[in-house]
């Protein structure tokens, strides 16, 4: 059986790399996107088990990205973990309206991310 796929969307390449290494180490496949627009373009109907997305990104921010994502029937029920900073309360309510329930506060350590992911899906 193929591994479960997680899409990581963040404008920081280094963050994407670290998260990818950690997730791959935990037994997931990873798909990367550098912003909302880029990510949407890469989502062409293939199975995605989880999306990890930053909020603040160029071209298309995380909230809009999730809103767009949820419009697609094949990704309607895909769980989303949103990366946020402590001060992002305002963002949080917007994200909740868009259907984001899981938040991980930046900065985080790789194993914190793994732990958060495993609350939603298991490899």
């Amino acid at each position: 059986m193929a591994n479960k796929v997680i899409m990581v969307v963040d404008d920081s390449a280094s963050l994407r790399q670290v998260v990818s290494i950690a997730l791959k180490g935990a037994g997931y496949d990873v798909l990367e996107g550098c912003d909302g627009k880029d990510a949407l373009s890469k989502l062409t109907g293939q199975k995605i088990n989880l999306v990890i997305s930053d909020v603040n990104m160029p071209n298309m921010d995380g909230i809009s990205f999730v809103q767009e994502l949820k419009k697609k029937p094949e990704y309607k029920f895909t769980p989303v973990i949103m990366l946020t900073t402590e001060s992002g309360d305002d963002m949080k309510s917007k994200g909740q309206a868009a259907g984001v329930k899981a938040w991980v506060v930046k900065p985080f350590k790789p194993d914190q991310m793994i732990s958060a992911v495993s609350k939603l899906i298991q490899p």
């Binding site: 973990i81 259907g99 329930k101 899981a102 958060a116």
Partner: protein, 744 residues
């Protein structure tokens, strides 16, 4: 038949039943299915009987375990479960465990952790058969899948589901998922799987009560609720974190295992930090998580606001709310409350007092003693100089010195309550030794006296209290015959009385037997036969060395050593003992002690060229010696004070003072206890602050002199021992009256 004997019967009976259980179990495999019912019944009955009897004896461990065993056996008996070879061996293990429990009870040993682990393991294995999940039940699947009627957040439902017996070591997690969880991409199963990584999910019970009719069912919505029995070593916050992403939409209740309650209570007890609020304590001990606390606090605030609108001032305490919400056990809240009260007490005590090395205080008192003497010297010089401003300055100085002295002495004052409270234990132990029932009543615990006195009064008091219980309080049968309650009463009391402190040891026992004491005293040659002594003096005889009227020597009292030591100890503290006793009704021993041992207000008198000091609080008045007594020589020892006859003594004669006599003689009337007497002196010099200096070893046994002091002039004055002198006078007058009566 005693309970003990009944218990022995229970042990024997249990062993028989267990043996029978084993025999029957071993016979099962050989029996055909349809022939087993009688055998299974017998096995069930054995477990049932043991459980029932154990309950009678309050052997809860056995009851709890056999209850589980019995429940499984009941299912077997009802045909819901098939007894296979696995089950037989499980039951055999259970039988062995019950036997072990009974043996432990028999030998009075406690359950080892091994035994406990074994028990838990067996309970876990048994409870597999108790769950209503289809794979365990033999009954048709349809029957088992009927939803349980209760709501999962209802704590009652939890109780009825598993029963506390099974769940003792497990967390109770009830979770009601929000309708949107699935839509949000959350999968309950994932969360349970995650939970599984930190422990073992023992049971999952699903609730479908929110499930709507099929026509209204939205396939994207979640209608599920679950109750989990979760075995884990993780703490509450960690377990809660598994629900991190769903907790906003879900109702989650996490109740720690019962077996953890003791740990939580312990953790609360060991909290070092002061000033914690109940909620903070519960969070720190791991009982409550921060999120739960915040939620409850928010709810409380909301309610308060609602209440103020409805004019209801009643605010529900946090502890009550968390218990009612079923997230914390009441025992834990109780421990937290207790801790809080303790903290408050400790804090207020801390604020009120500073600890000071007793040695520093002693040094201070000594210095003040020197200051008092130096002050007196200044006074004398000022008087001699005759300068008004000098005199004024000196008088201000001495007033201040007096105040400093009082407050310094006050520093050494401690309450006697703590000393009194120690006697609860003494009374308990002695009463137990003697098989008597005694109640100790303590009053006047807040009475203050000098620290040195408090330290030294303990031993004599112990002796008196023991004596009261042993000799004073009668055995229960005699008390009943005398119409007294079976429980004897010993009372400790303290109060201030004119410059002394009185400590009373009172009992409602048989009282002193005057005739018996007198007879004994005559036998010992302490009293001449035929002399009529007042009661108080007869009672004083019990303080003579080697005096005991006890018919039976117990290891507590009756050897006649002790009471004389008691008196010596008290006298060393410049105190004395009086006894009030009523035959059949009780005895009161009254210890009179000076408030302090260091500095007193004295009254200075002069005889010849010698100065003497009388403790001021014992001086009542001073009068001129009546004319008829002036030249009465040495025959009479009485004079009339406004018609009252008082004994008196001339200090000049008693102390054989030489030197010129004064122009006139004065009488200082002193009072000690209830006795008044006169001391004839040459001159009255007035009040004087007296720093007491002990007499040397050589003069320790001197009667009539209690100590010495240094005057402002540097001269030494002797402090009169008024109790000693008063007793001497009374004894002398008694001797004379009795001699007179013999002559007649």
């Amino acid at each position: 038949m005693s309970m003990e004997e009944a218990l022995q019967t229970f042990f024997a009976e249990s062993h028989e039943l267990l043996q029978e259980m084993e025999d029957r179990l071993l016979a099962i495999p050989a029996l055909a299915e349809e022939d087993r019912s009688e055998t299974i019944n017998a096995i069930f009955r054995a477990a049932h009987t043991i459980k029932g009897s154990a309950g009678l004896f309050g052997l809860d461990g056995i009851v709890e375990f056999t209850h589980v065993l019995e429940s499984v056996l009941d299912k077997v008996r009802a045909g819901q479960l098939m007894m296979d070879a696995d089950m037989v061996s499980l039951f055999l293990d259970c039988k062995d465990h019950v036997a072990r429990l009974v043996e432990l009870q028999e030998s009075g040993a406690t359950l080892s952790t091994d035994d406990q682990g074994k028990g838990n393991e067996l309970v876990a294995r048994l409870s597999v058969y108790l769950t209503d999940t289809p794979q365990a039940a033999v009954a048709p699947a349809g029957e088992a899948s009927h939803p349980a009627p209760a709501h999962p957040t209802d704590s009652l439902a939890l109780e009825s589901l598993g029963g506390n017996v099974l769940d003792n070591d497990n967390w109770h997690i009830s979770i009601e998922f929000g309708t949107d969880v699935l839509r949000n991409g959350m999968d309950p199963l994932s969360i349970f799987r995650y939970l599984g990584t930190m422990g073992h999910i023992v049971r999952v019970v699903s609730f479908f009560d929110r499930l709507p009719a099929l026509s209204e069912l939205d396939p994207e919505s979640c209608y599920m609720s679950y109750v989990l029995n979760f075995h884990s070593e993780a703490d509450k916050a960690t377990i809660e974190s598994a629900f991190e992403f769903v907790q906003e939409d879900c109702k989650i209740n996490i109740l720690p295992p019962h077996s953890r309650v003791a740990d939580f209570v312990e953790a609360i007890k060991n909290l070092k930090q002061d000033d914690l609020r109940i909620g903070e304590m519960l969070v720190k001990s791991g009982t409550l998580t921060q999120r739960e606390l915040d939620a409850v606090l928010a709810y409380q605030t909301a309610q308060e606001q609602g209440d103020s609108a409805s004019q209801d001032p009643h605010k529900r305490p946090l502890g009550e709310m968390v218990v009612q919400a079923g997230i914390v056990q009441p025992e834990v809240v109780e421990a937290a409350l207790h801790k809080q009260i303790q903290q408050k007490k400790a804090k207020s005590r801390q604020q009120q007092s500073i600890r000071v090395d007793a040695e520093k205080l002693d040094t201070l008192i000594n210095l003040i003693g020197e200051l008092v003497i130096a002050g007196a010297g200044v006074n004398i010089v000022a008087h001699r100089s005759g300068q008004t401003d000098m005199l004024e300055a000196a008088s201000t100085l001495s007033r201040l010195v007096e105040e400093v002295r009082d407050s310094a002495l006050n520093l050494r004052m401690v309450q006697i309550g703590e000393t009194f409270n120690r006697f609860q234990r003494v009374v308990h132990d002695v009463a137990k030794d003697l098989g008597k029932e005694i109640e100790l009543e303590i009053t006047g615990g807040d009475t203050e006296l000098d620290k040195t006195v408090v330290e030294k009064i303990g031993d004599p008091l112990t002796h008196l209290v023991r004596n009261s219980i042993d000799h004073g309080i009668e055995p229960a049968d005699i008390r009943a015959a005398r119409g007294k309650p079976a429980q004897g009463k010993v009372r400790l009391n303290a109060y201030h009385d004119s410059g002394s402190i009185i400590i009373e040891v009172q009992d409602d026992g048989g009282g002193l037997n005057r005739d018996k004491i007198l007879a004994k005293a005559i036998e010992k040659g302490l009293v001449e036969p035929g002399i009529d002594l007042p009661d108080s003096e007869v009672y004083q005889l019990i303080f003579e060395a080697g005096f005991s009227t006890a018919d039976k020597v117990s290891n507590i009292s009756g050897r006649g050593v002790g009471m004389d030591v008691v008196r010596r100890n008290i006298e060393a503290l410049r105190g004395n003992i009086e006894i009030d006793s009523q035959y059949m009704a009780g005895t009161t021993i009254r210890i009179r002690l000076p408030l302090t041992l260091a500095i007193i207000d004295g009254f200075q008198v002069k005889v010849g060229n010698a100065h003497y000091v009388i403790p001021l609080d014992m001086v009542i008045e001073c009068v001129d010696l009546p004319e008829e007594n002036i030249n009465d020589g040495h025959d009479s020892n009485y004079f009339s004070l406004r018609g009252e006859v008082l004994p008196y003594m001339r200090l000049r004669e008693s102390f054989e003072v030489t030197g010129e006599t004064g122009k006139r003689e004065s009488v200082v009337i002193v009072k000690y206890g209830n006795t008044r007497a006169g001391l004839v002196v040459d001159a009255l010099l007035g009040e004087f602050q007296t720093v007491i200096k002990p007499l040397g070893k050589l003069f320790e046994r001197l009667r009539g002199i209690g100590g010495s002091t240094i005057l402002g002039t540097g001269e030494v004055a002797l402090i009169l021992d008024i109790p000693g002198l008063v007793q001497q006078m009374i004894r002398k007058s008694h001797h004379e009256t009795s001699r007179a009566s013999v002559k007649e």
